[in-house]
Amino acid sequence: MFLASLRFVAIVVLVAGAANAQSAETSGPWKLGDIFVEQAWARLAPGGSGMGSVYLTVHNMSGQDDLLLAVDSPVAKSTAVYETKVKDGVASMDPLPMGVNLPSYDEVVMRPGGIHIMMSGVMKDTKVGSLLPVTLVFRDAGSLDLKVPVVPLGAGEPAEKHMKHPAEGHMKH
């Protein structure tokens, strides 16, 4: 009962937060069973390298842990989840081949300098203002298709602006 009411409150807060986020250049929320995805945005590395990254927040509102197994996009040669880490003053970007764990009633915030979806060989006609098609594949919940806006460089990392929201109080690092 407690969990059920907690879940209700969390979803209300989540939807309110998402409505609030609409003004920023993010997309979402999407719902897949008890998985909610919101505040999705993407940017392309300048200079024509064809590299891009996607940032979003995944809430697992079910009583079971889930796993983000794979990510894909038809407009990139390769799409994978990476984690930027700084250890002993050295920044590295490591793939997460085992997927991203999504604990029950918790969330994973992807943002610059942390976990993110990295794309390489992004098709040339993808530019600022485009909607990037991205598919997230969850172990239990199934797969979810997103359209993620490509924001201008330095658009202020829109996801960061909403991090103080109560629904996002328990970030995973």
Binding site: A45, V90, S120, G154
Partner: protein, 194 residues
């Protein structure tokens, strides 16, 4: 009870004195502090294909960091932050030269660096060179880098901090990506000699 109060009082006064002494020591500019030997002779090229040496670099204060253009996450973040900090520095910004040294000279030619840097607001210098020139530079400037992964999709691991050098080439310190903007600004103002 009174005795304990005394001990705490004395400890507090000592701590404050130590703090003031340390901050005075740190604020004392230049000559009295031994300079940390970071940097040395090098020859690289900038994003316009012009040769750049230590003599060129030492003419102004410099904020230097390692990166590469095939980096979608951390490098744009560092550049965007520096761009925003320089904007906040206002009229003192031209006193500091922001330098991105690519650790991926294989892909980052001067042309690639130029088009990459053009996307950011502000005046940035890009540096690249032959792999052995980079190796020499990195050794002199204590920058670490290594290739990670194989094939076309490799990435580079590299030193993440921004190194600050005073005009003349003396090492002042570093900027850390997690520190607050006002701390970073204070360091940059000190670097600009404001």
């Amino acid at each position: 009870m009174l005795k304990r109060f005394w001990i705490h009082g004395v400890a507090a006064v000592l701590a404050i004195c130590a703090g003031v002494a340390i901050s005075l020591y740190l604020e004392t500019p230049g000559q009295e502090r031994p300079s940390i030997a970071i940097g040395g002779p090098f020859t690289m090229v900038d994003q316009d294909g012009q040769i750049i040496t230590k003599q060129n670099l030492d003419q102004t204060a410099v904020a230097l960091f390692a990166g590469f253009t095939h980096c979608p996450d951390v490098c744009p973040t560092t550049l965007l932050r520096l761009s925003s900090l320089m904007k906040q520095l206002g009229s003192d910004a031209p006193k500091i030269r922001i330098v991105l040294v690519t650790v991926d000279p294989e892909r980052d030619t001067p042309e690639v660096l130029k088009s990459y840097l053009a996307a950011f607001e502000g005046d940035f210098t890009g540096m690249t060179g032959k792999p052995e020139q980079l190796k020499e530079f990195a050794k002199a400037y204590r920058l670490f880098y290594e290739k990670s992964g194989t094939g076309r999709d490799y990435t580079m691991n590299h030193t993440s901090g921004v190194f600050l050098f005073r005009k003349g080439g003396n090492f002042q310190g570093t900027l850390d990506q997690h520190e607050a903007d006002d701390v970073a600004l204070r360091k940059l103002k000190m670097l600009a000699g404001v």
